[in-house]
């Protein structure tokens, strides 16, 4: 498949965050989160996104065929997005993995063991409390990874595409994490909500 055949759809969350859905998988080995250009070193896609002029990218998350980019600059997503698209196409055409697999140890000494411990605690919370709650609306929340104390989740079932998914994420899951695992610094939803086929609450123009 040539770069021209790759389909990329941008889904801005707000002016700071945007998801890019790619027709081809970029990274099959779980989730990779890069919080700085240093962490991106060796991963061509993340390196290229951090290097986009004027974007002031602060975070890149790659999972399967989804790339989430967080930026600080006020630059509009159409401008930054086109550069992200070029980076994605270049990475797919490059002949080497777009991102490397998660390193055995984080560049920051001690971060990986801490993340591993957090992962266990967050996973317990999801299993014992979060998923039983969302299951009442036919939903499911999958814990994808914990990197640098940031929790990455993917929503499914009734949560995927649900009009209240952001309330569930912020007022529900994030609030529970703050209460039960206060070491968690943030939560990132890497769900492709446009693909949800059975949302519990579907929005109408109001």
């Amino acid at each position: 498949m040539s770069a021209a055949d790759v389909r990329i759809t941008a889904e801005p969350i707000d002016n700071g965050r945007c998801k890019f859905l790619v027709s081809e998988p970029l990274h099959a080995g779980g989730v990779r989160r890069f919080a700085s250009p240093d962490e991106a070193r060796g991963s061509p896609l993340a390196e290229a996104i951090f290097a986009i002029p004027g974007a002031d990218v602060s975070e890149v998350i790659v999972s399967g065929n989804l790339v989430t980019v967080v930026k600080r600059s006020p630059a509009a997503w159409p401008v930054v997005g086109k550069a992200v698209g070029q980076a994605i196409r270049a990475a797919l055409a490059g002949g080497q993995p777009a991102v490397t697999s998660k390193p055995a140890a984080s560049p920051k000494a001690g971060a990986a063991p801490v993340d591993d411990a957090l992962y266990e605690r967050v996973a317990d919370l999801f299993e014992s409390q979060v998923n039983p709650m969302v299951a009442r609306h036919g939903g499911r929340v999958e814990l994808i990874d914990v990197q640098d104390a940031v929790v990455m989740v993917r929503m499914a079932g009734g949560c995927q595409g649900c009009g209240m998914a952001d309330v569930t994420l912020r007022q529900g899951i994030e609030a529970m994490l703050q209460q039960h695992v206060p070491e968690v610094k943030g939560i990132v939803d890497i769900t492709d909500h446009t693909a949800g086929s059975n949302p519990y609450f579907a929005a109408a123009k109001k």
């Binding site: 509009a76 997503w77 007022q171 123009k205």
Partner: protein
């Protein structure tokens, strides 16, 4: 500082308001009409209120606020605007009088108040759905428009040009009002408003009311003629290309309507037509623009610890509700617009093709498909849900409008007949 955010479970506005509140760093309690599964786990952040009974909702909010003081309340649609007014009155916080919010929600009551105050509105008559349309058709002036008193997004709004058309339109609106999701909503669902069709260019006004004074945030042109027979919206583009004198007349019309209704605080969204006889108030709502359309609005950048960034309409509304300092309310310099993607036909949505191609159109920023695969699409006037939204920004309104049309032309919605 705590905000009570009234989010009906079917709103498109969740992300925009929740994320705006997070950016402002305030405490948020989200209230909905149906319980979140996390309500018991986070009782300060989630609450269920009886949106169908504003007085009851206000009493519930009062009980909640005893333990968790509430400093502001924000509504996102016509029904929660009334609830917010009741809560504001109960808690003694910034808001509209309940009677004003109710009048803004009910098209007939609104017409009566506006006409009595001398605001230019179409001539109107209220019918019950039990009326004999054959008899009424004989005395109606044509063309006219038949509409329900409350339904949103122009659902059930139909133009009639002659007596046979009137009878057909009446039957169609009547059938919509008898649908199960509408019929049980109250006495209003047993009435049809018939009003004179007002020709002219239609615009939408976004405004913020403070102590009864309207600050116009922007005027959107609606370049596709809304002449019927149905009134599905398509493109909104700002800045308006209306002459300055016409824009002043539109703004004055919005202010006169706010005065007549007695609105005091918060966002308004008004549909106004302008013709050689001046500005005509078609509808005014005590809420912000609906759907995902607020994404077309950005206001001047402000300094943050991470540098400059823009302010959203939702941030402005929340700041106003909480009495926080407002940034400059100047819209960005660029032209911008949004297209509500039309429903191409009745059936079940299977796929949307050409999204990438539509996004690639210069000036297009976002193509958001909000309908999910398997969703039944219902055309107007029975329907009220758009399959998605296209956003564009550029140097001029003409260029933005052209980009929106070009992007839409690249989309293909694959629809199968419903079983």
């Amino acid at each position: 500082m705590r905000l009570l955010l009234l989010l009906p479970t079917v709103t498109y506005r969740t992300v925009a308001f929740v994320e705006a509140a997070r950016r402002l760093g305030i405490e948020v309690t989200v209230a909905s009409e149906r319980p979140s599964t996390f309500e018991r786990a986070n009782p300060t952040g989630l609450v269920t209120l009886d949106f169908a009974d504003p007085a009851h909702a206000a009493a519930q909010a009062r009980a909640f606020a005893r333990a968790h003081p509430v400093h502001g309340v924000v509504a996102v649609d016509d029904d929660t605007a009334v609830v917010a007014a009741a809560i504001a009155q109960e808690l003694g916080i910034r808001g509209n009088p309940v009677a004003a919010a109710r009048a803004a929600r009910d098209k007939h009551q609104q017409r009566q108040l506006l006409a009595a105050a001398g605001v230019a509105v179409p001539r109107f008559e209220l019918l019950t759905i039990a009326a004999d349309p054959e008899r009424v058709a004989g005395r109606a002036a044509y063309p006219c428009v038949l509409k329900p008193l409350r339904l949103s997004a122009s659902r059930g709004v139909v133009r009639a040009d002659d007596p046979p058309g009137f009878v057909a339109a009446f039957r169609r609106v009547q059938a919509i009002l008898e649908q199960p999701d509408v019929a049980g909503c109250g006495d209003w669902a047993r009435h049809i408003l018939v009003e004179e069709f007002v020709p002219g260019r239609e615009v939408a006004v976004e405004g913020l009311v403070t102590r009864g004074s309207v600050r116009v945030l922007t005027i959107f042109d609606k370049p596709d003629p809304l002449d019927g027979p149905f009134f599905e919206e398509t493109i909104y583009v700002t800045p308006s290309r209306l002459a300055q004198t016409a824009q002043l007349a539109v703004a004055a019309c919005a202010q006169a309507a706010v005065d007549a209704l007695g609105l005091r605080e918060g966002p308004i969204h008004a549909e106004i037509r302008h013709n050689d006889r001046g500005a005509w108030l078609i509808e005014l709502a005590a809420r912000p623009i609906g759907g995902r359309c607020s994404g077309a609005l950005r206001f001047e950048m402000r300094e943050t610890e991470n540098g400059k960034r823009e302010t959203s309409l939702e941030e402005i509304i929340i700041r106003h509700a909480l009495g926080m300092e407002l940034p400059t309310l100047e819209r960005e310099e660029q032209a911008s617009g949004v297209m509500m993607i039309p429903v191409p036909g009745a059936g079940v949505l299977r796929d949307v093709r050409g999204v990438g191609e539509a996004r690639a159109v210069p000036l297009v920023e976002e193509v958001a498909i909000t309908a999910h695969p398997g969703q039944t699409l219902v055309p107007w006037p029975e329907g009220s849900r758009y399959p998605g939204f296209i956003f564009a920004r550029g140097e001029s309104s003409e260029a933005v409008e052209a980009a929106l049309r070009a992007a839409h032309a690249r989309l293909e919605l694959l629809i199968e007949p419903a079983d």
